[in-house]
């Protein structure tokens, strides 16, 4: 009797590499085994372990939407051994991928609601999956607002998509860079995300806010959302803790009685308030 090995990665061909920002790349991946690719499914919010034989595994979100199942995209910053080795790979190379893991954004519950996305820096990729998902089902949702900031203009990721979103009349995109991060022909705002959010004053009635970014941005954004009238049950974020197995067993992403990998990564602010601050 042979057992199915939950640690077996899918083999994925790197179809396209995009240089997003200094140290940040996006891979577009295709299943080498087409039949496996057709069986594979996931929902917005889930993540996967991306890997290279001889180097190891790294967890990132799936940054492409489930509404576009032809390929899987991931965006990562070069930060350690595995991401450095991944960043060295090129179109035509094969990498490992296992998943999907974790819970999902409750898109069904959000139908008919206004959606406010707030992202900072490399926090946009997890929300990009949701943004394209709701844009692909545009008539099911109310207003779609995005406030996205980065330290400098160069650090903004998905520049082509930001231009596309800017050109659409069925959504609103506000981009900003930290003071000093602008360049001469910069047409976006200058200022930190929480302040820009307050200036744009999106409505909180019948709305949900989805926040992802560096801890300091999240910390300063939450009071602004409270001031705008967002309820803790209607503020969502996606957590990141160090993870290995993705199945709630290896123990390292444990916070209180939950495992980020299995019970998260998506949490409401109300849920986070019940957890010890260990994330």
């Amino acid at each position: 009797m042979s057992a199915t090995n939950p640690y077996t990665p899918y083999q994925m061909l790197i179809e396209h590499v995009t240089d997003e920002a200094p140290g940040v790349k996006t891979f577009r991946l295709k299943f080498v085994d087409e039949a496996a690719g057709e069986k594979f499914s996931f929902r917005a919010g889930q993540f996967a372990e991306y890997s290279l034989f001889g180097e190891g595994e790294c967890p990132f979100c799936i940054a492409s939407p489930p509404t576009r199942p032809d390929s899987i995209e991931c965006t990562f910053r070069q930060a350690g051994r595995v991401t450095a080795a991944l960043a060295d790979r090129d179109e035509g190379d094969v990498i490992g991928f296992r998943g999907p893991y974790g819970n999902v954004f409750p898109l069904d519950e959000w139908q008919g609601k206004n959606l406010l996305f707030i992202a900072g820096g490399i926090g946009l990729p997890p929300l990009r999956c949701v943004i394209w998902n709701v844009l692909d089902l545009r008539d099911r949702f109310g207003n779609i607002d995005i406030v996205y900031g980065a330290r400098t203009v160069a650090d903004l990721v998905y520049k082509n998509e930001l231009a596309q979103w800017n050109g659409r009349d069925d959504m609103r995109l506000v981009t900003t860079v930290d003071p000093g991060g602008e360049i001469p022909d910069w047409k976006g705002r200058v200022g930190f995300v929480p302040a820009i959010l307050e200036q744009t004053a999106p409505q909180s009635a019948n709305s949900v806010a989805i926040v992802c970014g560096p801890p300091i941005m999240i910390k300063l954004t939450l009071p602004v959302l409270a001031k705008l009238g967002f309820d803790p049950d209607h503020i969502f974020t996606t957590l990141e803790n160090r993870m290995k197995c993705g199945m709630g067993k290896c123990g390292r992403c444990n916070v209180g009685k939950i495992y980020v990998c299995k019970d998260g990564p998506v949490f409401t602010l109300a849920q986070l308030r019940d957890l010890p601050p260990e994330y």
Binding site: S2, P6, R242, K249, G251, N254, E278
Partner: protein, 341 residues
């Protein structure tokens, strides 16, 4: 349903011979210098007389210090994947203490709950546990504080108790246990129940704290930074407690690779290590050793009871015996259980 027999100590070698000829691998405590270690034994094996627990727990048999989750060959940059989950031989683990047997129940709850872990499952399914009741204990033992005891059956397929000098009482609790009895029918004599003889020979292990009160109290003690700092001032973060613990199951996954190929390994890990939770960004949610000590206590005595309906500790005392700075878990837990929120 429990069924009871007796077996003469002198018949044990006969039992081991029957088990070996029935295809079982027999693993038991053997003397290794001044410690006990678990090793495969021949049918001539004579059980060790010492009470002391094996230096390492029995968990290695289902959760080894390191094991390959997948293997791969690297030829001209093209990888060949070998993801077979190897099937181990049927194994009888003989002579462990009831606390170690109970720890398999905790490990199974973690590894087999939710998405079952294939590498653990194949090793656990082919394992039969024959434990020996404790007739002695030492100052580190606290099984009775975590709902267990020196003659407790949890996790065991068979529990043997030396009710007489030359004879064991044999209690079989599972089909696996009864299969052992059936493998050597002539060696076991039927008897009607454990009776008082068992109680009389068991070690007296004092109750050090109430696990229920501890679990109730811990959430309100979480934010008491000074309390955890005080408890962990001596902690070196060496991880010895986790490595000797029969119920600790946290692990790391690392690739080990040469030019020809390698493996993705699962390795024991410890929440006591500073890198355990260190993010790639440099952020560490548990920055101080006191936070990591708190996590060890909270996970075992507060979170695991909620996650898997079991305390993540069996009171074997190994962590305290192994601690290089003599931190006694039972003492610390007793203090916590009595600390006013």
């Amino acid at each position: 349903m429990t069924e009871t027999w007796t077996i003469d100590k002198a018949s044990l070698q006969g039992l081991f011979a029957k088990l070996v000829s029935a295809g079982y691998r027999v693993v038991a405590p053997v003397r290794a210098r001044d410690q006990l270690a678990l090793e495969e034994v021949a049918s001539s094996y004579v059980p060790v007389e010492e009470h002391m627990p094996t230096a390492l727990s029995a968990k290695s048999i289902t959760f080894p210090p390191h094991e390959a989750l997948i293997r791969y060959g690297l030829d001209d940059g093209k990888a060949q994947l070998d993801d077979a989950v190897p099937n181990p031989p049927p194994t009888v683990l003989f002579g462990i203490h009831p606390c170690d047997a109970a720890a398999f129940d905790v490990l199974s709850a973690v590894f087999l709950g939710g998405d079952p872990d294939a590498h653990f499952r194949v090793k656990r399914e082919c394992l039969t546990l024959i434990s020996l009741s404790c007739t002695e204990s030492d100052e580190y033992c606290f099984c009775t504080s975590v709902g267990l005891g020196p003659g407790d059956a949890r996790g065991s397929d068979i529990l043997m108790t030396p009710v007489e000098r030359h004879r064991y009482l044999v209690e079989a609790f599972t089909d696996k246990g009864r299969a052992v009895i059936s493998a050597a029918p002539g060696l076991f004599a039927e008897t009607d129940g454990a009776g008082k003889a068992k109680e009389a020979v068991l070690a007296r292990v004092p109750v050090r704290f109430s696990a229920d009160r501890l679990a109730d109290r811990l959430p309100s003690l979480f934010a008491r930074e000074e309390l955890w700092a005080d408890q962990s001032l001596r902690c070196l973060g060496c991880g010895a407690c986790a490595y000797v613990c029969p119920a600790c199951s946290c692990f790391d996954i690392q690739d080990e690779c040469g030019r020809q190929g390698g493996a993705r390994l699962r390795c024991w890990d410890s929440c006591g290590f500073s890198v355990f939770t260190l993010h790639a960004s440099g952020h560490n949610p548990r920055l101080k050793q006191s936070h990591r000590w708190r996590q060890r206590v909270m996970h075992k005595f507060c979170y695991q009871p909620q996650q898997v309906d079991r305390i993540g500790c069996v009171g074997c005392g190994r962590c305290s015996r192994a601690c290089p700075v003599d931190m006694s878990l039972a003492d610390q837990l007793a203090t916590l259980a009595e600390t006013q929120p």
